[in-house]
Symmetry: D2
Subunit: 367 residues, 4 copies
């Protein structure tokens, strides 16, 4: 397990387990002088909390962030910024019985083999979705940094369990509506249908997946690095590190493979004295570099693997077949809670690449 | 441009430009004692060469690989293994006129801004598809290493310009048929239709895209690293570093977002005394770790941006609108030539993760 | 400040400030299955604590280590291992007056310029010797890992304020005597003289420096990496990261530059059926690789810069000259407390290189 | 062997062997727009060439540098800059007989164990001093970059075989005299004595070592990174990566351990309206950061291990004791040729840290 860091300039290292003492993250490379309060990080964390309605886990997660280092008098010092949330007492008993009965769709089986029974299996341990609290804390700091350059990150749910809106929401709708409903969808009608779909699955002891779209505005031209740290490559990498992600596409994505070059290429024009393109099939990235247009990508999440329906599995000690019913406090759909996680991950990658771009003097703008 | 390396144990660093002197790669971390001949690397490079038929560029690329270091008496020494192909004299004149007229769909515009006019714009410079020759050379060595563990990597074209086969080919068909036709499709009938589609686009001065599927067999259980170096995350990262890639999905991918948990979870069974799953929606990866089932992913390529059809663009010096017709020796579809590149990239990532897996003693098996 | 990690396989990241909430460290890459108790780490930390005698700071530092992650039922899980010690309430008032009056010999002045007044100046902040508690915690885990291979690390004070022993202590003396006296010297008579020297300086409001020697036994042949991660290079790097270190030499060190090749080369012999050398001027390292002989190096520490004697300095706000008397609870000599730090640093580097050595299967030996 | 890269922003990766095809280096992260000619790199390489006098090897090394990538129309492009020198045909026959008879003081024995007989043993392979040609090429580019900030690096020989000058040369003497004599000493009288000492050792079939001092002028305040990438730590690391280095000290170095704090601390004063110190025992670095004073360090080199005098060694295949006389074209003292290598290494580390210092806008100064 030596892969718990990401980034070259805004480098994050995360730690903690689902039922261990805490979940935390260190940011190494955040410039000194960034104004930062607990409240700002808490606000992002709160977006990720299970809502007290029926579509999410009834588990209580208070998740109050604390700074352990790197912030002094509400400004970053330039030293490693360590943040964490303490875990509440969790009931780990239930996981004892799953220990040698791997839950289908979970990392239980490969983790058991890899760590030779020493891994903390309680609550999924290091593979739990709870780990993403660390992503959100880091993302909150990244967002604050990006705000200096006026960069805005907007994620929203576009599909759940096959339910999707017929029209694309405007930026204004995404900004205003997304976080007002439980499913984080920018279209209220569709939101209601999505909620229904989740409830239906839940009532059947089942779960659903979905798709999140993310739009990043005001990224300067030229951010990203050839050949192996393409901006889209790094964003994709981090998205696939979110549990349950099975697909990522930028701009026209999979559909671009069905277009002709003459349809897919985005023609350049001059607009308000600036370079622009008339379409955005590229999703704002060409050759791994931002081209000044909005960065757009979609991320596909599989349905929550923890379901109470009976499933086939094995007893790995006895090497016999058996069944399992995963009871517990699971979200019947992870998508709504993943919306701020997608934003956080995008912010983290972008902060790293902005700081790597020597032609952008963020320090100057901070003063 | 400080992102030209990938990997932590099997670390590759690439260099060279499309119309510079050469394209090369260094592998740092290849174990000593791997039997390796030029012929083996050449064989992989040859798969990437433009074929002398009408669907690919008429440009001649001999691409004879040379070892500059790290191989002694046909065995790797453990020292950095540097390989390259020299560039043939290329006609760079034509690129002078594009210099300030960015080609739509290319990296020209952001590269110009990022490197302040100092980047080598000839033939796309560092953003050219030609760079992928380095990926293939590195991949050839990675494949040789993986062969020790009996790991096999099979990529094949599954869709071009919207044309796809109705049935999935068997592993045997993929092994036997893929490299016998120009489009690298494991189904001969579909291959013929794909070829037609490419020719049609070409004759119209246009281009098409497509989708490549890749299957990796015999990966041991537990390969990959939480939390930020998930096996799928690293594979996805490298795929997005291939020019023209716009989407990546593992297993059921985007479609898994429309399945119920009970449909998408892969039930565990005992088969021939071993752990297996009855389906493979996970695509062989759970929680970022290989689970012993075949690793399966699909990669979407956009249509070649270089087309001879007239397109709108701008003159960036004058800041006026204009048009461009990109003449030259361009593949009307990059997909067929990308098949060995996808394999190479997968092999490289896997070799890195295998060497990171302390529970796999590859050294022992090499003796 | 983006340089707070070290190591490639056993990678440590440290955080915390002298007067902040805590000082901590994360180890990423410690294999799963290492038996590890708080007591073992505490034992190493206690060696670093100021002793309750007159030669060290009267400041009380309890320094009780806590595990925040990565240990489950007294075994490492393979996940990031986060450890910390909480800081006791410290009196930071006194540092307000030094804020713009840089203490000679301290990092105050360059830190002020680098972090633009945002750095946590209290108690030296990130530049305080207190940071080395993190080194010792990481080193304790590294030592436990190295013990599996029977590797032993023995540091001891060989010189303080110019006082040194006339004879070299035996390994047995180093093992038995070093930690029985306040100055960590393996020769009791010399220890008494060193203590006198420290007290003399202390009484004059002054301080002294010294030299620590470290011997590492039972390192397998071939550990280390050419060309840029030589074993001695990495050990030296980490030693220079300890505050107050001004010189490092291996084997015959500076004196080897005055020997003839015929004197300095260590002749090979066969001893008890094994390869050995008759002398050890190389200090156990050739070409950056361990050669099987004991690794030996010496580290020079400058006298503590904090002294109560009046010194010249400047007021950086007013840009005028002034004087300073640094009152507070400072060790008049850092050397005794640095002995376990040198050991910790050596252990950390070695653990990293051992895990990088694919020919050493530590996992096998852990079972 | 996965340690052939150094640096985070100005990252170098080296490759090649003594008797292989070439010795080369890639710089990843050199900014675009740096004016750079082959001539400038060649000039530095020429300083490292054996001189055609009696004190150095009679071996002919032409060492003409070539750029393989990253330079276009005499400016760096921002892409990886690959440079190499081709090896002339070398007589490798002689090394066959040493293959299993390790030369005392060389890496032969640990390399044989580590690489299991697969390493390229000819001419020392990857452990040869010839590898340092790569350091010098990289250093030449770094120097060019540092020149923009007016940073100057001056190394000179201060001791050979125990012979040293009685007085310290002035900066002017170092600049003017160092490269005018064969031993690279800034004092002509001492240079003559050093030369005598070398000739004496040579005539006896023996060798001598020595000490090089290096001074770096005009480094801005605050360069370097706490906690693990201290500027002195990184410089020391790279120095120890030079073959034959056994000791490194900064400022007063080992001697500072014998001074009182009141003697060793460098008092701050205001000089010409700027902050300065009256002494420079710190060697220009405090807390791992540059403090604006000249950076000064000394590096100790052991005598060349290759000597024609008879030495004891073993036959590792037969495990018997035997003797060896190393005939060949060896420098009886590596110090004179190491002077430009020390400069190169210092330049490389400094370029990396300057580019990591977000408060220094080198791009702006390049325009």
């Amino acid at each position: 397990m030596s892969g718990n860091s990401f980034g070259k300039r805004f480098r994050i290292t995360c730690f903690g387990e689902s039922h261990g003492r805490c979940v935390g993250v260190i940011i190494d490379g955040c410039p000194s002088g960034l104004q930062l309060s607990l409240k700002e990080v808490q606000k992002e964390l709160d977006k990720r909390r299970p809502r007290q309605d029926k579509i999410s886990t009834p588990r209580e997660e208070e998740d109050k962030v604390e700074f352990l280092s790197g912030v002094f008098k509400e400004y970053t010092t330039g030293a490693p910024l360590c943040m964490l949330v303490w875990n509440k007492k969790a009931d780990s008993e239930v996981y004892e019985k799953y220990r040698f009965k791997p839950r289908p769709g979970h990392a239980d089986y490969p983790a058991l083999i890899k760590y030779k029974k020493f891994n903390d299996y309680r609550g999924g341990g290091r593979f739990s979705g709870r780990i993403t609290a660390a992503f959100v804390m880091a993302g909150a700091v990244a967002k604050k940094l990006l705000k200096i350059l006026n960069i805005e990150i907007l994620a929203h749910t576009v599909e759940i369990g096959g339910v999707k809106s017929e029209k694309n929401p405007t930026l204004e709708e995404i900004r205003k509506i997304t976080y007002t409903n439980a499913v984080r969808c920018a279209d209220e009608k569709t939101a209601a249908l999505m909620k229904q779909e989740i409830m239906k699955a839940k009532n059947e002891g089942d779960s659903v997946g979905g798709i999140i779209e993310c739009i990043i505005l005001n990224v300067p031209v030229g951010v990203g690095e050839p050949v192996f740290d393409n901006l889209d490559a790094d964003i994709a990498k981090m998205l696939f590190n979110i549990p349950a992600v099975k697909g990522v596409e930028f701009g026209a994505g999979f559909n671009s493979s069905r277009l002709r070059g003459s349809e897919n290429n985005d023609p350049y024009i001059i607009k308000d004295g600036k370079v622009a393109t008339t379409s955005n099939n590229a999703g704002g990235i060409l050759g791994g570099l931002s081209n000044g247009m909005p960065i757009i990508f979609r991320t596909a999440f599989k349905p929550t693997p923890s379901i109470s329906k009976k499933q086939r599995t094995i007893d790995i000690e006895k090497m016999t077949e058996t069944t399992i019913e995963v009871k517990g406090m699971h979200d019947p759909c992870v998508v709504p809670r993943a919306v701020p996680i997608v934003e956080a991950v995008a912010a983290t990658v972008l902060a790293d690449h902005i700081l790597r771009s020597s032609f952008i003097n963020i320090g100057e703008k901070m003063e």
